[in-house]
Subunit: 348 residues, 2 copies
Amino acid sequence: MKYKAATIKDIAQALHLSTSTVSRALRDSHEISAATKQLVLDHAAKLNYHPNPIALSLKEKKSGSIGVIVSEIANSFFSQTINGIESVANEKGYTVIISQSHESFEKEVRTLHYLASRSIDGLLISVSSATKDLTQLKALHQYGFPIVFFDRIVEDIATHKVMVDNFQGAYNATMHLLAEGYQRIACITNSAHLSITRERVAGYVAALEKHGISSHPSLIKYCFHGGMLLDEVTAAVNQLMKAKPRPDAIFTTSDKLTTGCMRALKKAGVAIPGEIALTGFSNSELIELLHAPITVVRQPAFEMGRVATELLLQLIESKRPVKDFDTRILQTELITAPEVPAKKKGRK
Amino acid sequence: MKYKAATIKDIAQALHLSTSTVSRALRDSHEISAATKQLVLDHAAKLNYHPNPIALSLKEKKSGSIGVIVSEIANSFFSQTINGIESVANEKGYTVIISQSHESFEKEVRTLHYLASRSIDGLLISVSSATKDLTQLKALHQYGFPIVFFDRIVEDIATHKVMVDNFQGAYNATMHLLAEGYQRIACITNSAHLSITRERVAGYVAALEKHGISSHPSLIKYCFHGGMLLDEVTAAVNQLMKAKPRPDAIFTTSDKLTTGCMRALKKAGVAIPGEIALTGFSNSELIELLHAPITVVRQPAFEMGRVATELLLQLIESKRPVKDFDTRILQTELITAPEVPAKKKGRK
DNA sequence: TTTATTTACGCAATCGTTCCCGGAAAAATC
DNA sequence: GATTTTTCCGGGAACGATTGCGTAAATAAA
């Protein structure tokens, strides 16, 4: 199916003009007479002419598109972030190309190569939970390629970064559980490679210590695949349920882990919050409809997307190499569950 | 921040060769000596050379990317569909450019123009609930531009289409409610413009008639914005709750409507399924975690994405104009709620 | 040795657009 | 009427890569 778009040359031939004249007429140059301009414009409209963006890109040495790599689109947090990214990008006339790593390092690297060779002008990335080797990213970065990290940061690479105050978010959530009287709080978290994992676990530990409770390594479960594999989460939950003094609460550090944990508990027949309380990071809009009303840490995902994109475009459009980089920290919000069963109150 | 990629010319100059020789060496042409090939390959690796896809696109007159327009990414059904689209596209070496209409006709038209002028090779689209004017789409189609419709079809335009058996899905869901003894079943559905609305409502009506129940227009509520506006759904629910003989069940025809309806019922303090039963289309993975276990119609979203993309690529890569078009109908699945409260059984 | 055939490479056009020059005709100035 | 200045437009290179064609040298066949 061949579909041939009209070119400047078509207009030129039809009107017995040169391509330069047509080009200038279309760009409303001052050195073209009003009569000729009108002629060209009319004919262009008749042919439904649109400048070929690919030819433009080739000349301008920029594609007008930015790449985004996230682990999963089917994740409230990321889809909200993408909405933020899209809103800024479209405002500025950029196209957004979204790719998913599905938490696989190999897929991430493939995607990275693919996007980079696809002539995108810059990259927004939240690394996969499996990412430990940074050579590819570093190479791209040292090459002068504009990259902005969001959510899951890579500390080693000097560029703009946007994230939430993970420590504080986790701290608040844990403090909330402690305030409700829970004492033995477990934590199910992501791959230990991730910046967000370290920070969120640190916040959790700090909250416990604030209450004079020392954190138990056996109560912190790392899920390498970040909740992508339900089995992994289920295993973590089951191990926790078998601990000698059973934990009375679980704090989860991501969307998939929160819902995965809930799924595992439901399957195991453990009542929330009757037998165990649950609190975690989540941007799902369905939280309030869940069978167990839980308190969640919500991230300003849309805002994060906006900020990251603004920084990236700034990087792309900067005339000279940018040397000092921003790290923007946004605040999370603790959305407390509408009603906490009375029996739980004043448990301490 | 200028980032200059190595070109074929750089290699040619460094090695005192012509660009043609370098190009042929890289493409492993038989008319280049093994020695020269090795030289070129080595130098290309050293410079981290990658062919400029934009230059290629200009020559080949194809961009190697396809556009996708959906109403919302943050919707389980669409994000699953996109995963299917991505899987096929990537297999075949195509890039996917995703855009959202947010159920706005204006945004859809803007996006359409934008994508079309962005040199995509083809388009996959599920039209917005607000789309009534088809001139833009028709123009593009008559122009010979490859388009495949999925989910929300446009009947007037002759091209490949992929959808589920909406009639049957709705019929099954309604029959399920009837089998459980519900008699007065309302329906909350999408904009009346949409193909899926007509078909699903027809399935609902047919099931009622099968049981000798005539459908009441007052029990069918059309939400123009397709659940994007919670207020609209809430209003519909509230009206239904005030009907003289109150309906004892609601059938919803889309993801957003199902959860929106549940939200409205919860706010109104109406118990599900105690006071009213709910069944509807939904691809959300959180359904089983909701406070009210409901039966849902699930669509093979991933599969739909795959099939639609295969058809589109077939259209794009076809040598001559395609004249006869496929309409693929996939089957839905009724996922019945795990346990239905006994009191509801044998209500009739 | 002469002719025919490979082998191995360079030249130049092409894709669609922009933009630097250069220049003819018209208009303005002296 | 002669010169200068505008006005308006065309020629051609450039962006990065591919490819048909031409051709020198090297090799094979006569």
